[in-house]
Amino acid sequence: MRDPAMAHWRDLVARRAGRESHRLSEDIIDELASHLAEAEASALEQGIPAPEARRRTLAILNAASFLALGPRAPAPHNARPRRATGLLRDLRLAFRHLRQSPGFTATALMTLAIGIGATAAMFTLVHAVLLASLPVAHAERLYKLGDEYRCCPTETLQGSWSIFSYPFYLEVRDHVPAFEAVAAMDTLRPDVSVRRSGGVDAAEAFTGEFVSGNYFTTLGVDPSAGRLLDRTDDRIGAPPVAVASYAASQKAGLDRAAVGQPLTISGVTVTLIGIAPPGFFGDRLESHPPDFWMPLSLEPTFMRENSLLETRTAGWLYIAGRLRPNESAAGVQAQLTAALRNYLREPANLTRDADRANVDRQTIRLVPGGSGNNAMKRDYEQGLYLLLAVSASVLLIACANLANLLLVRCAAQRMSMAVELAMGASVWQLVRRQLAEALLLSLAGGALGLMTAVAISRVIVLMAFRGASAVPIATWPSLPVLVFTCGVSLLTGALFGAGPRGSRPTAIPPTPFADRRASSATAVDSSVCSSSCRRPRRSS
């Protein structure tokens, strides 16, 4: 229902508030208008003529002040035009200054690119080899039986076991319920020749690996094309199949259309059922990762009289499993050791009777397998950390050089700084600009350093994996590497930006500006280029 009195008084209250530069909420305006409308109505009820009733009510409004009712809004004519925020303005000024000194800027950027680039390159390798997990699902739940990578099958007792027979793998797979899934992988990676069946092209040399059918599901890897091996491929007599690695598929020209087509691998015709995802190089980092994965059921077909599949005494398989979420590695390790000893107590599973006395000394260690690089970690850990320390030292030297450069530049700019002070700039503004220049330089240097890091780490990896068909280490900067580089860049900027301001003040000859700011000119270098952000001293 429209209430003309309310509308009238609401309008007057709002206008009145506007005149007092007060912004009142709609609620408050409504309440005040309601009060005035009530007052007017009450006067009318008492028989007071309408004009007089309105005049009296208006007097109530005019006698009031809204100062206590709402926050004071800024008057439009007092509003200052929007200006760039402090940091943005400093960065813009710093950019302009750096552009005016192309020689200095280029030298500083090159120094930073090398320093940050070397450090970031080393961190890329440290991250890829020592810190990163395999590109598999829930890598933290993957565990490997045994902490060693051994080259060759063995029939002797191993003490701490790392390679196992196929029957023992079946024992673990079927009778240790703590594992969600358990996979086995051949220790040997046989060289194989591959060509398309019926094709006229010459066969190409690749590396193969026999794995259990549940290998990919245990690791939690999805195909990039077709399908991966599964347990049906494990059956003896199952159709012969193979999965290509992404790198091998690129090298051999096997695209999606090749999936489902026959391939001849070392004289055996198999069907290419799928292609692994890019970046997946198997369960361990090695210089020659497998190109084709084939089910263990095919091992007798390929190895013929040298087949180890049915041998109960030969250890030739690595075993890795995915623990169920609530299982502890220590408890499962004890179960595995017990299972191994029981297995070895059976006469058919030992080659020598003399070993029987040592069965109770045989153990299995369960080690995290998510990083997939235990062997590589052992080989490269010390060297990589040493290189990281060396590159960090290079970066520190670069910081010292840059600090010197900035100091020299400050000395050269003392006249212009004196002018700026004379024009009204504060010492703090000049200090901030110096820091902004350091920040800009370090960020730009960090970006260049990142590109340098990609090149350096690629060269190092190619040298370390000389002759490798596919390098299992990504040199492209990952998110942790990007964060690391950004952090290093900012730290570098803070270091060399603060360096000049930490040095001793230098005596600067008097400038021609002998007025109120002239003496400040003397303090320019001692404040901006030397110590702290204190106010300039005035000479007496």
Partner: protein, 114 residues
């Protein structure tokens, strides 16, 4: 009745007590409070209407009173205020303090109720 200058000054400190006391038993809207104060004091005590609302908002912010809009048939929308439990405690305290104050003034200045 006109208030002399010293009492006009003293009146400023009474607004909170008066508003809390008038809301003790029944919810009231702003205009009703103004009229009640004027009538019961026979015109001796009046508050500028903006000051009254400033007091109401201040008390509401302190959670001593609670305001809510009420719309009744045939009437315009009004905001009614009522005393909260906290406001009731404050009122009791203020009453006690004012009583003590009057007792002191009585002793010192010989002011007695008629």
């Amino acid at each position: 009745m006109e208030l002399s200058s010293p009492l006009r000054e003293a009146k400023k400190g009474t607004a909170e007590l008066v508003v809390l006391a008038l809301l003790e038993d029944v919810s009231r809207h702003g205009y009703e409070l103004t009229k009640l104060i004027e009538d019961r004091s026979a015109g001796a005590l009046t508050y500028n209407f903006a000051s009254l609302y400033a007091t109401l908002y201040k008390l509401e912010k302190r959670k001593w009173i609670h305001g809510r809009w009420v719309e009744k048939p045939g009437q315009r929308r009004r905001r009614y205020y009522s005393l909260t439990a906290q406001g009731r405690d404050v009122l009791a305290t203020q009453r006690r303090e004012w009583r003590q104050f009057f007792a002191v003034i009585s002793d010192l200045a010989g002011v007695r109720y008629a």
